[in-house]
Point group: C2
Chain length 291, copies 2
């Protein structure tokens, strides 16, 4: 059997099968970031993202945008756990014939984003490859009381997203999105979501991850799903690379959030559906397939 | 200018130039691993290594060996700082047409090595690429008193290596080497090396990194450099991928180590030269150039 017949999630399951995990690991493979011991009050978060020329970007795109995206994907993973990013290491595979300014501009894009989110870049590796490959591994910290995973969504919880969806790749937004760290921190500090993740592969597929981890179902109100200008419902449901946060709140907290945002103007959160007890109520998904 | 004219170290310097670093970073880019705050008595170590098909391995090699090597390179970096490895995240780029057993065997090789060194694999990313790419980011811990960097080698210190050198790639040893964690821990606990690193690019070039960081020179006793069977002096000096440790000890500690190993049989450390005060005494190097 070839990789193309197996699919990405089966590959991740295979890695999980062969991944030794000590008792000190609070959460290993299967969420936006791993959760590891750190201090009495905090957990260490650890995530990795690989981007490849031809799959995630092309040389005709802005190199600063590519550098930004590589780091921002990982920052988004840390935000999805309720945490703040801290330290990153960067591996880059570069083709021999690549003009030096292109790679420097990738670094510059990373630098700007790192500064914006107080991330220190503390290490790296540089190797020769046929196409540009970027891997970022990122650490973060989260107070134990604020840790939010994909588990924990309960029946009757409301489902929210942090912003409009669809058409990220086509519009070029995937190169300039701003990871939702402030929103995530606001939420965990004030409304403690029951579950949270970032939308990287598409709302429908990613919501199914929450449903599976939390052993629940969901009903979406299609008319309520916020869409980017020009994006169809199907694009809002299935396009990847939006990096908005998807989270659930108990009915009481959901109503409190709606009350708060009727008055406040700092953030807006969009209610798009509800969690149900019926695990068979999955979301029809045509999300991004990596293979 | 193209990457091929610039060279790897200039690329790393470029990354360093664009790497924001907060005050909490104890040591950023420029050693085997970054040194970060952790607890009252320990530092967190953080390193990343990328391996590419065609550059570091081919499909004709043992996939389990490839998986082993990918993780063992990073474990070696943690050992070089005096620490113990703890948690890893694994990113893999896989071609569509790759047979699934090949990738599972890469995972199996990693798993075995992870178990041997008490490393937990806690996360991963899987993407589509044209050639196989593996990135491992690894954390470790080191007691503050045992941290050993590339700085600190002083005039008259003895230079040691942990084992014979040369011909690692040709012999296939690069797929089965055993990272020198036990030796590193024995050294930091008993003899506190003044500087240490692992030999990944070749003895000559890597020793120059210690000389530069410590602002000293060195003289090697060529006849004392231990070589693998069939390896020439030039290969022992310049071949990469041996992953032995290179370290320096004050004259008193060096003599104590020699006395110890005249009786003991657990490890053997090879004295190969001395540090000098003359920074102009660099080592002639034909070490592995990545571009």
């Amino acid at each position: 059997m070839k990789i193309s017949q197996l699919g990405e999630f089966a590959l991740i399951d295979a890695l999980k099968q062969y991944a030794p995990v000590s008792k000190s690991v609070i959460r290993g493979i299967g969420d936006d970031a791993a959760v590891l011991p750190y201090s009495k009050s905090e957990y260490l978060l650890f995530t990795t993202d690989m981007l490849a020329e031809g799959t995630h970007f092309t040389r005709r795109m802005s190199p600063q945008g590519i550098g930004h995206k590589a780091l921002a994907c990982s920052i988004s993973d840390i935000a999805a756990m309720g945490g703040c990013p801290t330290f990153a290491v960067v591996s880059i595979g570069v083709p021999k014939n690549l003009p030096v300014p292109f790679i420097k501009d990738i670094y510059k894009g990373m630098e700007r984003t790192a500064r914006a989110f107080n991330v220190s870049i503390v290490g790296g590796d540089t190797i020769k490859t046929d196409k540009i490959i970027i891997n970022i591994a990122l650490l973060g910290l989260v107070e134990k009381k604020y840790l939010t995973t994909r588990e924990g969504a309960g029946p009757r919880d409301w489902i929210f997203v942090t912003g409009p969806l669809g058409g990220s790749l086509k519009s070029g937004r995937h190169l300039i999105f701003f990871p939702r760290v402030p929103q995530a921190r606001f939420l965990v500090e004030n409304f403690k979501p029951s579950a949270m993740m970032d939308i990287s592969d598409g709302l429908s597929g990613d919501l199914n991850h929450i449903l599976k981890a939390s052993r629940v179902g969901a009903r979406l109100d299609h008319a309520s799903i916020p869409r980017h200008k020009g994006a169809s419902l199907s694009q809002a449901l299935n396009d990847g690379e939006d990096f908005e946060l998807l989270f659930t709140l108990s009915p009481a907290k959901a109503r409190a959030l709606m009350d708060w945002q009727a008055k406040a103007r700092s953030f807006y959160f969009y209610p798009i559906g509800t969690i149900t007890a019926d695990v068979k109520e999955k979301i029809n998904s045509k999300s991004f397939a990596h293979f």
